[in-house]
Symmetry: C2
Subunit: 225 residues, 2 copies
DNA sequence: CCAAAAGTGTTCCGTCTACACCCATGG
DNA sequence: CCATGGGTGTAGACGGAACACTTTTGG
């Protein structure tokens, strides 16, 4: 293949993944210790250098899967950072993705191996470089998106109770939501299907389990929390 | 400086600018003929290779200023594209920005030199590569943003009438807006200031000219169209 | 004097919000 | 039998949408 662009500068391109999980009623962020110089030992995010024959989204998923074992990853692009001064050492173009995962899916051994840790979103330590800003941007975006796109389900198992779903929204948006109003809104959405299964773990009475029907949503893609 | 990352692949990084203008009641898009191979002669957008010591946003502004002479450019990042198959020839990571400019500001000679042309947004020709998709994404984003951020002013001169502003919103959102409701909403926003100047060009009676007060907005940054 | 654009309020309707009690069950 | 979380409806407030006429003035 002819190289038409050879007079131009080429850059390292990385993806940084802001991995959100939901556990114990709280929104969690996945962080890890940086394993290479520069900045070795500092807190950072999951990430990876983009490879020659790999799409950006695939790089993001590879970064997450290889470090956590989680295979089902929902990711959306946040923004691209690449200012000259942002990186203390060599310049890198960084494409940020946020990911929503079901916390139960991770592989503890892998997580251990890579020095990963879940921290509460309200308690994120100082991260390397400009990554605190990146996390803030991702969280802002998540808060906007979760109100207008049906993505909150990705933080839960396939079957979930309405109370769990409400807690997801409360954790992300940071505030209490009225139970009756919340359930009224959900009832209007026919792509949130009640199954005949009952969850008996969280209450004595038992709670109906629901499922997000992706196909039904794609036919009437309308969502407002 | 030590090169820590040398074992990784480096990529060409470009910015592509979706430049919107407003003229004659219509939303316009700035396109140009590609001047280099591959794809020479096909319609494309303004763009530039990112340079070694240049921030991404600066690359975007440089691309626009050098080809149009327009110095005041308002840009926001849209999304980054860089899939392996997206570019027919060599792989390029492309960071898209949309820009809102006042159509009156451009330099006709420069525009001519670079083969630039304004086309109606409803009448965009087939563009090179995946750029039609990029334009669609940018327009979607613009339509969302213009409802919640005070950015429509960038398509107008510093002083504008309420009718002009309404036409901007109609052109971007694609639909008619009720004049009285529109003006009622504007009146509630104290950062859209009435000046004592009168525009006599567009009507015999004359229309009050308004101005967007950035400082007032930054003190109470709330906006809903 | 008339064409052309500027400017101005009210009513209606649907949506969001606030709010409290009964139900089913395991222990 | 009681503690725990699950499940349900209504009334009032608020915000958005529909809608038509008067004013000014250049030609």
């Amino acid at each position: 293949m002819k190289n038409y662009y050879s007079e131009n500068t080429r850059f390292y391109v990385v993806v940084d993944c802001i991995v959100f999980g939901f556990d114990n009623g709280k929104l969690k962020l996945l962080i890890r210790k940086r394993a290479i110089e520069p900045g070795m030992g500092e807190w950072t995010l999951c990430g990876a250098f983009v490879r020659e024959n790999e799409d950006l989204q695939d790089s993001a998923n590879r970064a997450i899967t290889s470090m956590t074992g989680i295979k089902q990853v929902f990711s959306q692009q946040v923004k691209t950072y690449g200012n000259v001064k942002e990186d203390a050492s060599e310049r890198v173009i960084s494409v940020a993705y946020y990911s929503l995962i079901n916390v139960k899916d991770y592989d503890v051994e892998l997580m251990d191996k890579y020095g990963l840790r879940w921290v509460d979103i309200t308690d994120v330590p100082r991260l390397w470089g400009n990554l605190n800003q990146v996390v803030d941007d991702a969280l802002d975006l998540l808060r906007k998106r979760i109100k207008i796109e049906p993505i909150g389900f990705n933080l839960l198992p396939e079957l979930f109770t309405l109370t769990q779903l409400q807690h997801v929204y409360e954790a992300v948006l940071g505030g209490e939501i009225d139970k009756r109003n919340f359930r009224k809104r959900i009832k209007n959405l026919d792509f949130i299907e009640k199954t005949d299964k009952i969850d008996k773990l969280s209450s004595k009475r038992g709670a109906a389990l629901f499922r997000f029907n992706e196909k039904a949503y794609s036919e009437h893609p309308f969502f407002r929390l």
